[in-house]
């Protein structure tokens, strides 16, 4: 934990993006998490992603619940909207905010406790409703704020720092998200920004429920031998199915991969995902096959990472509810209360 503010001085050649902002403009207050926490790397990856996409900070809303992970929105995007909700209730609050103003980019940041234990139901329903959001679970497998008890995502057989074996089966949030109908599912690792940053960018440009399970080692309570969420373990068992570059509208598309290994995936917002296949027979569009693949890797003790599933035709909550194009919060009284004549007409139509 540090209380020193990050100095304002920056590298003299710090680049600026299309908005004239530097990466430093996307930072938040200084982190109070433990030194070396994986969550801080994820915050940094979010900062990188938003900077590179030239997102306007005031068009982003960060939502979180309770826990180490849910503290992190304070540490990035200091000029964005934020809401720190009750434990496990981030998905509902985010859904509500999204309904009220669908024009913002919603970044739900949660942890394995917040989403896989107390908030499991909330997580499930926000995904199955197809809320247009990026839902990031900063997954470290332990309750860091209460000194490292196993969380619901800890693998059976993993050892705690004191040497106690976890006897409960783990909840695999990636499988759950796929099963619940998330239209963008990815897994990554806080220690691999080269993989994580493009995944966050792709998830932001995805116009549906995008879920990222990000393994984030807890340096204080879950980075020892016997842990399956330590830096060493994840690095040794990381099995990436693909690597990704996100090409937004402005960039020229340059492809320099061997033919047959690259797939260009065009999303609805115009962005292109350049996917380089690492596992030759992995199909990122086949949900059933992907689930089978994941189970297979899991059985072998491998951790499949990368973009695991993407639906190019996502249907989000607003489409399902057939809401008007104008964000609801911008509808004024005359639109919302069209008068007695209109009410009569509606009533008449229902007779």
């Amino acid at each position: 934990m540090t209380f020193l503010l990050k100095p304002k001085l920056h590298h003299p050649n710090l680049p600026t993006n299309a908005l004239g902002l530097t990466r430093r403009d996307y930072e938040g207050s200084v982190s109070t998490l433990c030194a070396g926490c994986g969550h801080d790397s994820i915050s940094a990856a979010i900062v990188h992603a938003c900077f590179e996409m030239s997102l306007q900070p005031h068009r982003i809303a960060k939502m979180s619940g309770i826990g180490c992970s849910s503290k992190t929105p304070t540490y990035f995007l200091g000029a964005s909207h934020g809401f720190n909700s009750v434990h496990g209730r981030m998905p509902s609050v985010l859904t509500g905010a999204n309904l009220a103003n669908k024009d913002l980019i919603y970044l739900g940041v949660s942890g394995d406790g917040d989403s896989a234990s107390i908030g499991l139901g909330q997580f499930a329903h926000s995904i199955r409703r197809g809320v247009n959001m990026v839902y990031i679970v900063e997954n470290n497998g332990v309750y860091g704020l209460t000194k490292g008890q196993f969380s619901a995502t800890a693998d059976r057989g993993a050892k705690s720092k004191r040497g106690v074996m976890n006897s409960d089966e783990a909840i695999d949030m990636v499988s759950m998200a796929m099963q619940l109908g998330a239209t963008f599912v990815a897994r990554s690792f806080s220690g691999d920004k080269a993989q994580l940053v493009p995944l966050i960018q792709a998830a932001i440009s995805h116009q549906g429920a995008a879920f990222i399970d990000c393994i984030s080692p807890c340096v204080a309570f879950n980075n020892h031998e016997g842990s399956t969420k330590s830096f060493d373990y994840v690095r040794a068992h990381n099995d990436a199915v693909n690597s990704l570059d996100v090409i937004t509208g402005r960039d020229e598309i340059i492809v320099d991969y061997a033919p047959g290994t690259l797939e260009m995936v065009k999303q609805h917002d115009g962005s292109v995902l350049a996917l380089r296949k690492l596992a030759a027979d992995y199909d990122v569009h086949d949900r059933i096959a992907a689930q089978a693949w994941l189970s297979g890797r899991h059985a072998k003790g491998e951790i499949a990472t990368g973009l695991l599933y993407v639906d190019l035709d996502p249907v989000d909550l607003h489409a399902s509810l057939r809401t008007v194009d104008t964000p609801l919060n911008e509808l004024d009284e005359t639109v919302l209360c069209p008068g007695a004549a209109m009410l009569d007409r509606i009533n008449a139509s229902l007779r």
Binding site: M1, T2, F3, L4, L5, K6, P7, K8, L9, H10, H11, P12, N13, L14, R24, C34, A35, G36, C37, G38, D40, S41, S43, A44, S190, G191, K193, P217, V219, A220, N223, F231, D232, R235
Partner: protein, 595 residues
């Protein structure tokens, strides 16, 4: 790229840019921290050990440290190192108890110093406590050399010179002032074990132009004129004065003239304003005193009417650059410029002069009339004779003279002890962790966002009215503290321990200046391009680790590191540590005095 070898004392020395740039390698951040702590006497002694004349240099140094200062690479201006030094000198209190005592027993060796300027006095300071019998000769009536004779008192008060020259004269040396040495041969015949020549560059260049002889009464050589003013022989000058030359001597001449009755003083230079040799702040000081600097004017003649100098003519030129980028001053073809004046001060350079050194004593001179001197040992081709300061390699400045003096003192000491003078002593180097607690360091690592503070000046009318009134008033304690806080503590090094690193990226994420990268290894030129921020400053090293667990390396660009220690605060395993690096240039006989 090979992993960085931290056992080489020069690696971290280069990171402390100010100390590395200082010819005497003064540990700058160390004394600046002490100033912030209000430990002025301690700060003074660190300076005194390294550069011998902190009070003098704190007002007059050419400050090679400041352009080197890292702060100048992350914001507009470097730390005001030089003026902070003056703060230590101004507030040190009584430090006589800390000064070395005259040697109780002499070692029987006799050394003669010719000239009592900064180079000679440094040699004397280093050697006297070791028991050498030292005699210092100078043609002037008091010690200090050019410090006393050429620097105007409104920049450097007499008391400061008296005190710091006095510290050395108090070490039990013999001074023979007012004596001009006119034969090195006969001096050596007096049986000295070694002779040190620190006679400076005592001859000001003249300008042989038409009218020079006729107008001689009102044409003065800059350094001689300054010296006469300094010793009270000259007290006034004409109303209209032209100063020729663009160096610091010219700046001193014009400002002195302003105080002796020169109401209309102009500096006229051949080159462009930007290429003038004078330090930028000295030009600013001159212009602040209503002295215009006219450039691209080549002096053509002195105009004398009725036996009296009335003005000068100048040819207008412009700079043209040839294919090789060399500058030529080419006449513009416009009419010559005529500038009226009553007096002219010629400050167009100074030269060495050794008419007193005989050609038959085994002391060789090169074709430019300079003695052949070894650049490391400062020994001439006559083994008993050593040179230093401007006398050795031509005009530089005080801090170089001091640096030469230290090295010459080592040589003379080794020479008298019968040791090989080519073997130089290694510097004393230590590296100490500054960790005090979990996120607590023994230095203040919170970076100040302040811009450089200006030194308060005396009211202009008041300053111009009294030639002895010091123009700069110096920082008060509050300003000094604020300015000291701008120092980045570059001597507190980021030290990386490969076996402890778990490659969590915490240091990369927190670094405010993007200097840390974890990446695949490559040749330096390639590596410099694929770091978190490209490392374009080739004068600054990359700190490269051995391969880590993932096969990557840690590469840190030292260029703009703020030494804020956040990498170490964020490191969960202590792979980064902040360690204070002390680089202590060894002086004659080990350490001539303790801090």
């Amino acid at each position: 790229m090979q992993a960085t070898d931290l056992r080489d004392p020069e690696y971290f020395h280069k990171v402390v840019d100010c100390q590395h740039a200082c010819p005497a390698h003064t540990p700058v951040p160390e004394y600046i921290r002490l100033i912030a702590d209000r430990k002025y006497a301690d700060a003074y002694m660190i300076n005194w050990k390294s550069n011998v004349f902190p009070g003098v240099l704190g007002r007059t140094c050419d400050r090679p440290c400041e352009p080197a200062c890292r702060r100048g690479r992350v914001e507009d201006e470097p730390v005001a190192i030089c003026r902070l030094k003056r703060v230590a000198a101004d507030n040190k209190g009584d430090i006589t108890g800390r000064m070395p005592r005259p040697a109780k027993t002499k070692n029987g060796r006799r050394i003669a110093m010719v000239g009592a300027g900064p180079a000679s006095l440094t040699v004397a300071r280093d050697l006297a406590p070791l028991g050498y019998d030292i005699t210092v000769f100078d043609r002037d009536s008091r010690g200090g050399g050019m410090i006393r004779s050429q620097i105007p008192k409104f920049r450097l008060p007499e008391e400061v010179i008296d005190e710091e020259v006095g510290f050395i004269e108090g070490l039990g040396i013999t001074t023979k002032y007012g004596i001009s040495i006119d034969s090195l041969k006969s001096l050596m015949a007096d049986g000295y074990d070694a002779v040190f020549v620190g006679t400076g560059a005592p001859r000001g260049r003249s300008l042989e132009l038409p009218g020079r002889a006729e107008g001689a009464a009102n044409i003065h050589i800059g350094i001689d004129w300054l010296s006469s003013v300094s010793f009270g022989h000259i007290e006034k000058i004409g109303r209209r004065v032209i100063v020729l030359g663009g160096g610091n001597t010219a700046m001193d001449c014009c400002r002195t003239a302003r105080r002796l009755g020169g109401a209309d003083v102009k500096v006229i230079v051949r080159s462009g304003f930007e290429e003038m040799k004078a330090s930028p702040w000295e030009k600013d000081d001159a212009m602040r005193e209503d002295i215009p600097i006219m450039n691209f004017l080549v002096p053509k003649s002195f105009v004398v009417e009725g036996g009296k100098l009335t003005g000068m003519t100048f040819e207008k030129v412009q700079a043209e650059y040839d294919a090789k980028g060399r500058r030529n001053l080419v006449p513009t073809g416009e009419l010559d410029t005529y500038v009226e004046c009553d007096d002219v001060l010629v400050a167009v350079g100074q030269e060495n002069s050794f008419p007193w050194i005989e050609k038959d004593i085994g002391l060789e001179f090169d074709r430019w009339g300079m003695p052949v001197v070894n650049e490391t040992t400062f020994q001439s081709t006559q083994p008993k004779v050593f040179f230093g300061g401007d006398a050795a390699f031509g005009p530089k400045n005080i801090i170089w003279a001091v640096a030469h003096g230290h090295q010459a003192a080592i040589s003379i000491h080794k020479f008298c002890q019968g040791e090989d003078i080519a073997e130089r002593p290694a510097p004393g180097v230590t590296l100490t962790s500054q960790k005090m607690g979990i996120h607590e360091w023994s230095y203040d690592n919170d970076i100040s966002n302040d811009q450089r503070f200006a030194v308060p000046h005396r009211d202009k009318a008041e300053a111009l009215a009294d030639i002895k009134a010091e123009v700069e008033l110096g920082y008060d304690e509050k300003l000094a503290f604020a300015e000291a806080q701008r120092c980045l503590n570059c001597d507190v090094q980021t030290v990386f321990a490969e076996p402890l690193c778990i490659e969590c990226d915490a240091c990369v994420d927190i670094c405010p200046v993007d200097c840390i990268s974890f990446t695949g290894n490559d040749d330096e030129a390639v590596l410099r391009t694929h770091l978190e921020a490209p490392a374009h400053n080739l004068t600054q090293d990359l700190y490269v680790s051995l391969p880590l667990k993932t096969g990557r390396i840690m590469a840190k660009d030292e260029d703009v590191c703020l030494h804020c220690g956040l990498c170490a605060e964020r490191c969960p395993t202590g792979a980064w540590d902040m360690q204070r690096f002390i680089y202590d240039l060894t002086q004659a006989g080990g350490a001539s005095c303790s801090r």
